[in-house]
Symmetry: D2
Subunit: 473 residues, 4 copies
């Protein structure tokens, strides 16, 4: 793909979700649906902060607005009002190395033999290279780097007689993880990959019994004042139209493989995934972690923000007092520092503020959700010790993260994973903790209360549930 000129993007310190999607269809109501879709996007903002977009349908025309930045950067009062219609899909995106250009913002809207269509999706196709080669060979051309454009091209070429059939036929060609929503003039189609790797749920608007919602997380449904109906099934293709919602077809789903990291980190604490609340799952992981570990500490603290929930469970199970040992500065934006080391150390203190009076002289158990590159962990440990902590014991609420994800979670490059090729002890030395303990895979599975064979644990075990690998590793 032709590249837009850009400056480098700082590498993220946590695993990064690529996207969130939402779709609402309410043909029989008289209200504009865009303001609701906007609220849904706001609820999914944690899944992607690089761009936001929405496409609506008024029955004849599709209207779109998208741009770089957060939801409130892209959508002001005017933008929302200028999106008419009763059907809408929306998207928030995390910019990854491969996928950071303005041209790649979603939803992607096109004209085709099926009329105007727009698509938004979360996940990654593992047979994308093969599909792309076939499309180019057959005379198609591609303007973006998105899987969305591949999928739309396949739909456009399907030679089926109607859109649901064309989508169903296309889904059979896809390998990989996806949760996708497609808007046409008169319907929304929503689909989830056969192993159910990426989350997608179905809800209904309370104020409007004929309006239905699909969204990456249930928090979008509840933020709209709606009710969660159920998850979209792995392999299911749903149709939302003026008759309500219906299940159009179901791809065979020989195995489920729901991404464990959704519960560990990605999902908003109030979301329900696989019928479980994310916050309570995190507390349960913290409990398992405490039960599995040798704990010699005076206090338990969470690494803000994502370590707080497992830390509460850890404290409960260990009987140790939960404390606030370090707070996160809510106002930190860009920080400019001069290029001498003394001051670079200060940058961490801007973002994370230790409370010395809590830490001083204490043996501190710190709970964090995961270790990706290790830099942040090392800085946190130094910070706590500088603030007076006698010992810092780091507890991680997920197993060692050693295998890159090919299904839409960043980093997708093995070499960026600090735990790759290192023992826990080597890692402990590297980051400077007095002890380092991870929850076991079995402990994690117990906390999730989902059958182990229904989970994708590839990033911990290397056992990838979907065979293809786009990187050829």
């Amino acid at each position: 793909m032709p590249h837009e000129a850009m400056t480098s993007i700082p590498t993220a310190e946590t695993p990064q979700e690529a996207c969130g999607v939402v779709g609402i269809f309410s043909e029989n109501s008289k209200i504009n649906i865009a303001p609701f879709c906007y609220l849904g996007l706001y609820a999914l903002q944690h899944r992607g902060q690089a761009s936001a977009g929405m496409v609506t349908s008024d029955g004849n025309t599709l209207w779109q607005k998208k741009g770089l930045g957060l939801v409130p950067d892209v959508f002001g009062k005017d933008e929302i009002e200028e999106l008419p219609g009763y059907g809408a899909i929306g998207h928030v995106r995390l910019a990854t190395d491969k996928d950071r250009h303005a041209v790649n913002t979603q939803p992607l809207a096109v004209r085709s033999a099926f009329g105007s269509l727009a698509i938004a999706h979360n996940g990654r196709l593992t047979n994308r290279n093969t599909l792309e080669a076939g499309l180019l060979q057959s005379g198609a051309m591609l303007q973006t780097d998105t899987d969305s454009e591949i999928i739309l091209n396949l739909i456009a070429k399907s030679e089926e007689t109607n859109l649901p059939k064309a989508v169903a036929k296309t889904l059979r060609l896809l390998e990989g993880a996806y949760a996708l929503v497609i808007l046409s003039q008169d319907m929304i189609l929503a689909a989830r990959d056969p192993v159910g790797n990426r989350p997608l749920c179905l809800g209904k608007m309370e104020t409007d019994p004929e309006a239905f919602i699909v969204a990456s997380e249930s928090c979008a449904v509840s933020n709209l004042g709606g009710k969660l109906i159920r998850e979209v099934e792995p392999g299911e293709l749903l149709v939302l139209d003026k008759r309500g919602y219906s299940s159009h077809s179901l791809l065979p789903s020989p195995k489920k493989a729901f991404c464990a990291f959704e519960h560990i980190y990605f999902a908003r604490p109030d979301s329900i995934l696989s019928d479980k609340n994310a916050y309570l799952v995190r507390k349960a992981i913290g409990k398992e972690l405490a039960l599995e570990s040798k704990v010699n500490a005076d206090i338990v603290i969470g690494a803000p923000d994502s370590g707080i929930s497992p830390a509460l469970g850890f404290a409960e199970a260990s009987g140790l007092p939960f404390e606030t040992g370090v707070i996160k500065n809510r106002y930190v934006g860009r920080v400019f520092l001069e290029p001498n080391q003394a001051r670079r150390d200060l940058a961490v203190r801007i973002k994370l503020n230790p409370i010395a009076e809590v830490l001083n002289g204490k043996r501190v158990a710190v709970i964090d959700d995961s270790i990706v590159r290790g830099t942040t962990s090392a800085q946190l440990i130094t910070l706590l010790k500088d603030a007076g902590a006698k010992e810092v014991h780091l507890y991680i609420a997920s197993p060692p993260y050693r295998y890159a994800c090919f299904y839409g979670v960043e980093p997708s490059n093995q070499s960026e994973l600090v735990a790759r090729g290192r023992t826990v002890e080597e890692l402990r030395t590297l980051i400077g903790a007095d002890s380092l303990q991870y929850v076991s895979v079995d402990g994690l599975v117990r906390a999730l209360a989902i059958a182990k064979e229904d989970l994708c644990l590839a990033c911990f075990t290397g056992e990838y549930p979907i065979s293809s690998n786009p990187n050829g590793d």
Copy 2:
């Protein structure tokens, strides 16, 4: 096409050119070509102020940067430096009603079976609807409203063995007016429609004997310090690559039909089109106008800015003194006025400042290039009379503009043309002039010094040189 939400754009008061294109290829030189392409775009800014864009090739990758606004709004120092390579094409665009969205900015860059390609073009295809229908039918999908995307799709589907052949084959499918530049990893292709309606010229860089330029106007070549070689021939397909430039093929050109409005209004005064300098042609039109007209005036003035050149010729031929009767405020941007009529009248005075001491008690001959909607002419006449002019005689340096253009000039809607269905006398009454005289078609042709049969005069005569009509009028 799905629409982006936008507020209305004020209607233009002059005929509007859609675009300007430029391409430079210099594989053997060691310099970055982007800064030169940028200077070329600056020289073509008068052909379009709504968006600007550039794509460069470093031999492997295409790099692009485009955006809404003027050339200096889109391209700062950083943007130029981040476009590496020795081949570049650029585009400036006027946003028309149909073509105002960000998604329609050019160049358009894609991946295809021929590798990465980018295209920029000026003009309009008259068989676009047919081509689009065929493409959608065959499974293609379209993301923009541009003719560029249609052309690229046809190239991608051509099944030819190399790019020049694919482009040549595609050109045979196109009807309408176009001047286009295509960039691949290792060449630029430039083509002009068979009647040569839109301008396109070939030049060379003086500092680099192996670097060649194609551009909508020669002013881009001279602004780069280059030399004009010749016009691209009607129907010609040129290839610029590491061997220099070569004429790849020539579509049959049974008739030439160069747009007369390029000389009347669009082109920059220092440009050479059809081997003639635009400024001198404009003076010549003014002379013809004076010779054809009954002139009872004390002074000659030009309507700023485009009436100044013909006014100089008019004054010379009539023997009347040329004066500055009204000046244009160079700083006018948006003007906000309260919604009462008294103040709305003041808005014209902000933009056009009459010099009462020059006009007072005089019979004034005002020369303007054309009348489109008539509003500006009426305001100008009122302004001059309010400033003391005893009589205002309006002379127009083109024949009555009564037929909409289907080849890329706005307005493309007949109903916006005030001269449509009105006699000159009716028009004179409407705008309030003491007399109104147009140059004749023959007078215009004499001034242009181009054979009448080699010109497109459709907007004056209704005789369209290219048969198809996309609007079905």
Copy 3:
């Protein structure tokens, strides 16, 4: 004061601190001090988000940069680098109704008989009207609404022989609450009002034994990698210059009256004020609140973010489990909603996300820091009940807030305080809680561990420690 045209500012739902100040002087070091002052401002961002500014001295010239917005909005890399010198003062400001204009951003820099001076301050003068009238009478003119300009005018008119004497003389004229820093070419002066109402502390840079810091809160010192030395004494005037720091003079301080709300809400949890850590004080208030209250609840939650710390203490003292019952959306900026009530209710859900699985069927004890206008409390209670809470018992970690503050805390208008003229029971009914309990004044004082007579509790008791009242209430 002439007003700048502005749109309305939404009313705040918590008591609002007006400002934060910082000053650093390090004549003997070779380093630029601006980057450190910038880090100090970042640490004080929670004290004011409307504007930020900095003035530096290089020994000859004062250099300034200030603007509306957050610290990173005003200060980029370039802005910091263009502020040379070894002395600096900085300011962050909350825009109140009276003080929201660009002209009122601080520091304020002037030329005077003492050379160039700049001032930044936190607090409010209660005899401002009298001082202003006297100044205008004597021929002075005022360009801002700030107390800072009044103070600088008095210094300029002091007729003393040097700056410290002029400042000391001026301080004797001031009534009210203030913490101020003044920068001249060769020194910083720092002063605190005689009752010590507003906080101000002294610290030293660790990397530079001759560099000293004054700041509203110790977190600015620790964020710079410095060490807290002590509080500036009530009535004290400190001088920081090339000889280090020295106490120039001390106004008589018959009574101390430190603002209790600094510990309750304003200060950052890691700050030390009156030798006490704010986070630990908040936990202690939560304990007192639990001990004083009748608690019939199943779980304890904090209203995010400021209710979390007292909730931890409350849970500890009551023996009830601490839970996360509601989370705050970190990405919320402006939210646009259509003007129908149904959707306005949704706005709260965007900002506060209840976790139904935690709340469902529970009797919930919610801890919040204070009730100002009551709107947020009512919304929170509704939210929790809608999410399934069986009962909601609201506990407030401060006594009823019934008297407006005249010393720099907003709102300064009695009528905005919902507890004014209402019994606790009336208030409970109004906001819809199942029970409502405040900590007592004595309980608060016990938690603060500061002598009651050394505190300003005026907003709870109506006993104002400083007599004058600028509003004439």
Copy 4:
């Protein structure tokens, strides 16, 4: 004055006027005056493009809006609507080296013993340093670098019983050049310095017989649809209030000294100054220049834009044809060029586009208004020769500019004047012209048709009409 951090401003190539002022008072009309003041500012935009501002009075409160940039950058629809009232003053400013900071934007609004006041002025005080020292000594403090602040301080300290008396008393203390407007709650005061160096005129609104206007140039009056009444007399203090306008007092004016450069360059061509139209004066200068010179040329061209008017007169007097030899690119904003000389030469070609077909083989007489630093002239001559001109003869429509102006025109630094210390022949060699001829002082005076003793010709003759010199040169 404390300095704001800024990047360097490119040096101007023409003499630069510091400012334009406008004031309108219309107590008896019901309309808001701000939209009219805005139109007046638009008309004066050519006098200053660095900042714009307006203050209005509704009888009680002064309302202000000002900012950096052009009038339409500072004033949108909302800003204008938020300025209520029937009295208004406005200001546009050129940023000079000394006066470029945001803090120095005008009008300056203050509170004083006379209530709220705002001032805007054009010109420069020559005894400013003395006045400032006296003010600081007496305990005043200064926040800006403007003469406006000095003047307001003197008014505030005047101890007179009403504002007109206070202003009249203050004017007696001022030395230098000024045209100033002062707004209070219920009147506008307008004053012009005793030699009448800076222009200021009085007009009336046509739509409102009781509304009067003061403005730097009559074009502001005519742009508002008003009528010019007369010039404000040298030394006159006018009062505009609800009774209309009245002449309050007259300072003794032993000598007039109206700035000749207003007619040569600064004023807009449609303005009337000293009862003469600027455009006709410029043509007259061109005629004098032709009559005084030896002219051996084939064509006459003007250096755009300011050389066009004298060129028309020159052509008329010499009998040579007037031609458009070079055009100015209307779209040029910032131009970025790489740092090698070849391309830097290209920058001139972007801004100035020669028409080779007009120039080729010709002996060209180029008329320009003045030579300041000489760089532009040299570039223009090179450009014309590169485009084919056989000879380039440069004619300057003002005498050699050898003495810096101390009354408000930039550059105020002698060393920047290329004609300083050079003979005309030396200068001709330096810039590369085939001949160089200036109009004589007497020729200029004849064209102006103003008595030589009533003009300030100091920049040509070194005879300064006002004794003091703030620079001590």
